[in-house]
Symmetry: C2
Subunit: 212 residues, 2 copies
Amino acid sequence: MATRVARTRLRLRKIPRQQRSAHMVETIVEAAARILETRGLAGFNTNAVAERAGVSIGSLYQYFPSKEALIAALSDRERKRLVAGIAETYRQAAAPDLVSALRPLVRAAIRQQLARPALARALDFEEQRLVLNEADRRTTQDIAGVVMALLGRHRRQVAVHDLEEAALDLIAIARALIDGAASRGHVEPAGLESRIMRAVLGYLTGRANVAA
Amino acid sequence: MATRVARTRLRLRKIPRQQRSAHMVETIVEAAARILETRGLAGFNTNAVAERAGVSIGSLYQYFPSKEALIAALSDRERKRLVAGIAETYRQAAAPDLVSALRPLVRAAIRQQLARPALARALDFEEQRLVLNEADRRTTQDIAGVVMALLGRHRRQVAVHDLEEAALDLIAIARALIDGAASRGHVEPAGLESRIMRAVLGYLTGRANVAA
DNA sequence: ACCTGAACACCGTTCAAGT
DNA sequence: ACCTGAACACCGTTCAAGT
């Protein structure tokens, strides 16, 4: 039942050592981003990416062992930006209380996602299909780590026990609402931020009323 | 930027009139469900579905104009079950207050999604890729309609203005948390229900704290 | 009318030949 | 060493031939 994915199918075939080849990898990844944004997933094919990047299809496969590896690399790049933004935001925030600690993170996530919305949405779907590779999983864990640290710091204000589960759930909520807003074309960051904050705070502090 | 999808590419090519052909369509759709569940999206191809259903590939295409139409039909079937379950639950609920009105809906959604979890998750992704066809969109609107009715009835207890936006957001939250739990293999309905309820109630009743 | 499956087109991927 | 692109394999889809 588990979808098996050979690790190597998603990694770079070799690490580019020279500046020229590093640049080539970057060019291919950015070409992939452009194709994904302009033609969507249906129009995304390796030959188109190679052509857009101005390299032969063979050269593309010299670095990327599969189409999925190409998407994984693109996904890595975008997620690294997200993690960097969130970690940096967290470091800078004074964070006197839970609400003001969470809000900047929500904002950072919204900003990142809406910078290139079509790309972000397409990647969110694709990533789940790929049964994320190690690096992607690590990145999600990195973000979850920041959120867990934040929750730990404000532990007295939260009513949840499993901090990891909570962190993953909160990330899922934020992503779902951001993607939904983007897909409806209603992108009004302040309102979106408020809706995410309410759901997140409800999750963290609400009374469960578990009994039926 | 908008992905154009010809309506006809997602609909049945013709409505089966005889019992035999209706049965054939049903057999094909169930074969599609089985293939999707057992081999995943990567292993899902039309030839495999036709073979599993015991019909020729040509016969499959006599009813389904494309692979996407096949997924759309499967998606329709599952969503109709979901809508029926939710509408029925709503009709039966006494609903003295917001919390006890929402809880049965959350339960119905969890039950449906976890009945065939691999299928439900695969469909959630695919549906978004397809830029949902009319029927799918209508189905989502149907569920949103039920949720909006519920919110309208308890309007005094909710702090949101845009009931449609709220309904769509709440559905997105529930789906994200259910899919996440299923993908992690942590499926413990009572806990999941509580987490969804807290997020949903926070969204509906929480103070926004909109000012930065 | 409906069914069949060989055949076509497209795209992911490889590899022999070239530099 | 690295690049090229023709060629192969797989799969979505069609359509001429059969019943």
